[in-house]
């Protein structure tokens, strides 16, 4: 029986840290969630090209590819919000909690601007999801990313509230670290979406 064998304590955990925001299992969990989302995006973009390959005209006759202005502005705003997110994390690592609160709040505001631009741009689509498969996939990918920006906004808003309440410390900041990781993904995944939806139909 195992329990009858004499025991030796080989690892003493009493002095090992209980806070490790940058190597915490949740960091890995968010990374896995990002992998799932990335797989969804890959499926959607592949479907876009598959539908394209099986159609004569893409976009269909009489439909223009979506205008470039607003999507390109979003391509500026979202990375900018990632910079403020990164700056906020620097602050909380160094114990400057005011910088953290300012940084995450700025990111939320910038992402709200991005959502505003996105809404204007959606209103400009000259095709409905029910008109043609092109419209369906265009709206689906756009809606998918829209939902992600909104969920990053509401999640980060919760982090911002906690930051203004003074909850976070340089050790106790797991929420900030994982929220930032997710934020980078939402901002970063816009690039392939942007290239496929707005440039591919013009260039290919």
């Amino acid at each position: 029986m195992t329990k009858d064998i004499p025991v030796e304590v080989a690892v003493d955990a009493s002095d090992i840290t209980r806070f490790a925001p940058h190597t915490h299992p949740l960091w890995w969990g968010i990374l896995a969630a990002v992998a799932i989302e990335a797989a969804v995006v890959a499926n959607l973009l592949t479907s876009y090209f598959y539908l394209w390959a099986r159609t004569d005209a893409w976009p269909p006759e009489g439909v223009e590819p979506p205008p470039l202005l607003w999507p390109t502005l979003i391509l500026v705003v979202l990375p900018l919000s990632s910079v403020t997110m990164w700056w906020a994390g620097k602050g909380s690592d160094a114990g400057r909690m005011r910088q953290l609160a300012l940084g995450v709040s700025a990111s939320v505001l910038l992402a709200c601007v991005a959502i505003g631009f996105r809404s204007i741009q959606i209103a400009q689509f000259d095709i409905l999801w029910s008109d043609h498969a092109y419209g369906s996939i265009l709206w689906a990918i756009t809606g998918f990313h829209y939902t992600h920006v909104v969920s990053a906004i509401v999640g980060t808003a919760a982090v911002a509230i906690l930051a203004w309440m003074g909850y976070f410390t340089p050790e106790r900041q797991l929420g900030v670290v994982v929220d930032t990781l997710y934020w980078y993904f939402v901002a970063g995944v816009y690039l392939p979406i942007y290239l496929v939806l707005y440039w591919a139909p013009r260039l290919l």
Binding site: A10, T23, A133
Partner: protein
């Protein structure tokens, strides 16, 4: 007292008992009806997953029997065509999504932390959330059948049959929403398992010392991670085609019905391996224990598991040989399909070498494994046959394919699952399953299975198509069908005996000690059933068979210094499992249940109005905030 090291050295003295009692209180799950909704311990959640999956298995099995009853004679009138289609669709869907994946995941959720010497999984609340999602989604899906509104377009729901024009009514909508919903549970379990295996292994358990079962679960989880998104995308598209008039699969408006097949099978083929790979892990565990020697070719086996996982993503088109694909494409997928037999062969040879010359103990789990060998290898052989394009085009959509996939799925997943039940039941319940009933169950299942499905090969070669609700007497298919029905009944009795055994032995079985089979892995290093905290002290390991090597070394190494007044478990580095930090785990909470209910309302509502997308989104968000919001007093260390 935070240092429990010395105190627990002698578990039987007063101080040791008191320390253990404190830890056990910390890890206890609340009792009572309302307490049930707050459980987060992986042992509770894993047990629930397995029990629920087995109930769904029984229901789906009864549906299978109904189909066999209908087909037992030509022009039979037990089921009308539409009911038959519903029964067939629900049988296939439930077996795949409600039974096979969750049962494997449940076993993994139960065993992985025990096998890697952890006290719980990395995200206990997410675990609970996944279970409720699965339970709610599964029950709603199955309820559609007695209500007569079940989907009837087959488990793979090919468009255009499944679009609004040809499948009016709620059936396919229930399929798309509930299956997508249940996939969420599969994904949460996959994330949970990957992170637990990566980060919570006991100190010393470097990747090359992990039990093969844990490797298999890791491969399965990665496959889920990359396969499930495509069925989610596909069913979301179908859902939108049916509910808000998108045109993804409507050929007249630029859509492509073949897109559905590609997306579905890009998931659907790995899916087969998602349930098969953990079964390989179970088989390896059983073979090692009942041969009483370390596994032959550990590295080869691990590489074979990983390559099965990878290659399985390059095979999906072999389900679509008859859809008019380019010749080059078909040849490529034919070669890839044949290639998967290489790693499968490596596994079989590793097991044979492990068993070769060993004094094998022919206990019930081992008997299930031996029937697995026979059945699965037969299924593998027909697999090599249908992998080749010319042969496949002959038997496509006939009962030959039905025979083939039941041989690989039942042989490759259910028989090992049964082996696993008999093998680990004593650990989970603390009592042995009845040996006599077990042996009868193996025998009847093996005979019944072959009698039920072997004749289908011949029926298929004679041209009997799949998915038909009846056939004409002139076809001369009556006798073989009758034989298959008799076989199905015997098979049901065989499995039924195990069900009865599971219930009976929980009360009357012989009491099991810690390690009744003399197995080498860590799940047997704790009491049966395991403590609330799994291990009074987390183990530290030096090799891949600690329970065999500790007695040789004359000492057992453990972790000391974890606190007793809150839930703590070691976090170690990914490759070498060196101690890195300590994770403080959450205790019982009802919020995962509330979140699951909010999400279910959203998903179910989608059938009736797109606005439920918003309701579900914000409803779930609010519950997540309550779930994650830090509670005072904030933790200072």
């Amino acid at each position: 007292m935070t240092d429990v090291g010395p105190a627990l050295r002698h578990r039987d003295d007063a101080e040791g008992r008191e320390t253990l009692a404190t830890i056990e209180r910390t890890w206890q799950s609340p009792k009572g009806f309302f307490g049930w909704f707050t459980h987060v311990n992986h042992t509770n959640i894993g047990r629930r997953f397995v029990a629920t999956a087995l109930i769904f298995f029984a229901i789906a099995g009864v549906l299978g029997l109904l189909m066999r009853w209908q087909l037992s004679a030509p022009l039979n009138e037990v089921l009308d065509p539409d009911t038959y289609n519903q029964v067939m669709t629900v049988h296939g869907t439930a077996m795949m999504f409600l039974f096979a994946i969750p049962a494997m995941e449940g076993i993994a959720i139960y065993l992985v932390p025990l096998m890697i010497g952890a006290r719980d999984m990395a995200f206990p609340r997410l675990n609970a959330f996944g279970y409720y999602v699965y339970l709610i989604g599964g029950v709603i899906f199955l309820l559609s059948l007695p209500l007569g509104i079940a989907p009837a377009a087959g488990w793979f729901n090919y468009v255009p049959l499944s679009n609004k024009e040809f499948s009016p009514g709620l059936g396919v909508d229930i399929w798309t929403t509930m299956i997508t919903f249940i996939e969420v549970a599969a994904l949460t379990a996959a994330v949970e398992l990957i992170v637990t295996i990566f980060k919570l292994r006991a100190p010393g358990m470097s990747l090359n010392r992990m039990p093969i079962f844990v490797w298999a679960v890791l491969v399965m989880s990665f496959m889920i991670l990359f396969a499930m998104p495509s069925v989610i995308v596909a069913s979301a598209m179908l859902m939108m085609d049916r509910l808000v008039d998108t045109q993804f699969f409507v050929a007249e408006a630029g859509g492509s019905p073949l897109l559905w097949q590609h997306l579905f099978w890009f998931f659907g083929h790995p899916e087969v391996y998602i349930i098969f790979v953990p079964a390989l892990g179970i088989v390896t565990s059983v073979v090692v224990t009942f041969a009483q020697r370390p596994v032959f070719g550990y590295t080869a086996l691990v590489l074979a598991l990983v390559s099965v996982g990878m290659v399985s993503f390059g095979l999906w088109v072999h389900h679509m040989y008859t859809t008019g694909l380019p010749f080059m494409g078909r040849s490529f997928f034919m070669a890839a399909s044949a290639m998967i037999s290489i790693p499968s062969g490596v596994q079989i040879f590793c097991w044979i070498m492990t068993l070769w010359g060993a004094r094998i103990r022919f206990e019930v789990p081992m008997l299930w494994v031996l029937s697995f060998f026979a059945v699965f290898i037969t299924g593998g052989l027909t697999g090599v046959m249908v992998a080749s394009v010319p042969f496949d085009r002959q038997v496509h959509d006939t009962y030959f394919v039905v025979a083939h996939f039941h041989y690989v799925l039942v042989g490759g997943a259910v028989f090992p699952l049964m082996a696993g039940l008999y093998y680990w039941y004593p650990k989970a319940v603390g009592r042995m399953l009845s040996d006599r009933m077990g042996k009868w169950s193996v025998g009847l299942s093996f005979v019944g299975f072959n009698l039920a499905f072997f004749p289908m090969h011949q029926l298929g070669l004679e041209g009997m198509p799949r998915r038909i609700y009846t056939y004409l007497p002139e076809m001369d298919w009556g006798f073989l069908n009758q034989l298959a029905t008799v076989g199905a009944i015997i098979l049901a009795v065989g499995f039924g005996l195990t069900f009865w055994n599971l219930i009976y032995s929980a009360y009357r079985g012989t009491v099991a000690d810690e390690n009744p089979w003399n197995a080498p892995t860590l799940e047997w290093a704790t009491t049966s059933p395991p403590l609330n905290c799994n291990f009074a002290q987390q183990p530290v390991v030096q090799d891949d068979r600690p329970l065999w090597s500790w007695p040789e070394r004359g000492k057992r190494t453990v972790v000391g210094g974890l606190r007793t007044d809150r839930r703590e478990t070691m976090v170690t580095t990914l490759l070498d499992a060196r101690p890195q930090s300590v994770q403080v785990l959450p205790g019982p909470t009802p919020w995962p249940f509330v979140s699951a209910v909010a999400a279910s309302v959203g998903f179910l509502g989608l059938i009736f109005s797109p606005w439920f997308y918003l309701i579900g989104f914000f409803g779930a968000f609010v519950t997540f905030v309550f779930w994650f919001w830090p509670r005072k007093p904030y933790r200072e260390d």
